[in-house]
Symmetry: C2
Amino acid sequence: MNEPIPLQVEDGELALLTDLYQLTMTQAYWKEAMQERATFSLFFRKMPPARRFMLACGQQHAAALLSRLRFGDTALERLAGTGLFDQGFLDWLGDWRFEGDIWTLAEGTPVFANEPLLEVDAPIAQAQLLESLVMNLVQLETVLASKAVRLVMAAQGRPVVDFGMRRMHGVDAAVRGVRAYRSAGLAGTSNVLGGLRHDLAINGTMAHSYILAHDDEREAFRAFARHYPGTTLLVDTHDTLEGVRKVIEIMREEPEVGVKAIRLDSGDLGELAKGARALLDEAGLEEITIVASSGLDEHQIATLLEDGAPIDAFGVGTQMGVSADAPVIDLSYKLVEYAGTPRVKHSPGKVNLPCRKQLYRRRDDRGRYVGDIIALRDEAVDAGEPLLRPLVRAGRLDDDEMARADEARERVADALERFPEDVRWLAEGESDYPVTLSPELERLQSKT
Amino acid sequence: MNEPIPLQVEDGELALLTDLYQLTMTQAYWKEAMQERATFSLFFRKMPPARRFMLACGQQHAAALLSRLRFGDTALERLAGTGLFDQGFLDWLGDWRFEGDIWTLAEGTPVFANEPLLEVDAPIAQAQLLESLVMNLVQLETVLASKAVRLVMAAQGRPVVDFGMRRMHGVDAAVRGVRAYRSAGLAGTSNVLGGLRHDLAINGTMAHSYILAHDDEREAFRAFARHYPGTTLLVDTHDTLEGVRKVIEIMREEPEVGVKAIRLDSGDLGELAKGARALLDEAGLEEITIVASSGLDEHQIATLLEDGAPIDAFGVGTQMGVSADAPVIDLSYKLVEYAGTPRVKHSPGKVNLPCRKQLYRRRDDRGRYVGDIIALRDEAVDAGEPLLRPLVRAGRLDDDEMARADEARERVADALERFPEDVRWLAEGESDYPVTLSPELERLQSKT
């Protein structure tokens, strides 16, 4: 073990990031010459109790990646080594290309239980192979964006900045998480690579270690403010209000350093913010803003603001980084149609909607959302624009459709305004927003 | 956006996977010519309520990766683009090498609150830069292994297999998670790449979609069993006990397919297992085992076995894949010493242990663990073998020490036996296992 194990998954290996049964089932389809078209639908059956809606995120990116999935030579060699696969099948895998269609919701679309986020139409041996990876990819961004948007809503227009890279589950979560945060409306991130790669502003303050490495807090403040005019100083290492007084002194002596903000990271944030605000205002430093952090979630942010805490921005990490109150969503990728006929597993107490589908979000004449309709894909439904759109057609990615992923942030902000208020509430509980089945789907479901 | 965003983080970019303030503070240290040696200690202050111990995992791998961290040309260009850094500093970063020491616990060491998992001794501008990445890397494996070992304990010797790749937070979590699962004692994984890369047996059964794609469940069973003699058949797609009867018929007609196991994935697993066992035994198929899955956690496994459910192996995913009841551990990487003097942040109600440290686990004469002592690194403590050992010395990885990471699985199994029983209990609550401070550390802590 002289070489550290790499963190990377190379393109040619990505196809192996799957559950073994996807490969054994695919070999079985190959042996049985089962080549009819299948439709698989990606959805979740139940909303987590701590959520009133989820933001469907990652599905466009996932579909784009999956449409280019290949089994590289190394991957094939490794599969051969398992002894489970015939050489003929491995050769077939080497030539494997996704040639089907993938329909997706646009990035950032709010979704509810049983609504399709993505559907794959392809010969069954192609569609089956995508299952595990598409679920892994979509879940991450969907779970993280759906948590992050709640912090954004709680902050009522004040900037929320991601400080959570260290708390996230590994490297891919930390990097792609920032993409989800961007969609959710965060103002920035401390995560350098994530921010650079996914076009979200990179922010940072300072750590307690910087203060502690200096013999004197005041000297640490002064040095850092000189290096970075317009910076944010962390004032709670020893005594928060004493720290604020030191910032005020430095601003008196060297106003040109233009300290922009102070950061509170421990203690009673509401009380300390009030105390700090009073000191700063008294010193005529109304322009210095207050950033608060320290294990905050949306409920704490809401409470702080209700209590009138003069906090101007929030840094959040631990709770958001793993979506601690709902770290997993029970996504399903289910066969719903094969060879032109509906397929459904009979699960007592569970909804299983057969056939390829479409999703409609009805608006009233003021543009407000009044209810969703889950329908058959080809059913005539007079309910506005269909939300599932073909991103991949016969294996080819539609670049115009893909470009819509970049509008996720605007899409989220626009959509949230249009929902009834109870969809946006932070408290646990379900909203009354109606999701119904179309007549044809209703009929087919009761039949199957 | 014609190219899908890559999932990979290349070696030269990995150094950018950090919080911005690590880089701005490091530039400040560079500008201030602060080059004294610092010690940072990685620990957590509080055990999650749902855990009685954590398995320290990932720290040896992380230390090995960090000892080779480099700022590649692309990384430096991207940093230059932020406008925050002087060219002189960027040149210095280009030559940056970690030249310090990293002490770590061996992979798989059980740990309790306030115990150091890893300590870095290096010039402050080197030690500071590692913070965010080491926390991200160690947290993932520690959180996942600490959950997985609970499922292993609950199963009381029966194999537990990871089915959770689709539920984990992204690609890195899915791949490195298997490493943590191996350490924790799982018997196998369905995750092909994870299993191949981290040397854990790859297992798989079949999905409901395979059954549904066939017109008849019996024909699906027969075809799959012929393709894969000795396989596991999923019997709950339509009616579980009917499914079992079909398996029995196939075994009567074609005993050479040698079905090895059936899998139950829904319904009342305890009752269905009893019913299935009775049918199989009646048919003389005592050798066919029963695998159960379906959102299982350690408490459900324990209850099933207490109730006498004849289940021989468990497939687990959703709850384990994100460690749903404790998805995050509040790791701290704190400056504890700089320029030879202790450094501590004053946090009311929080323990902050100054100085470089060592951890001892005392044994009685029968080898059972009787208590831990957190001591100063250089203090003479008569309590057996020190657990923190130098993995990286003056920037060089010790290959012999690194090889100990491969023994994590055996280390975990051995250690668990040695703890008092209440450390292994699954119920929420703290064990009585004592963790104390050495006399010198106690003295220093009360002083600082």
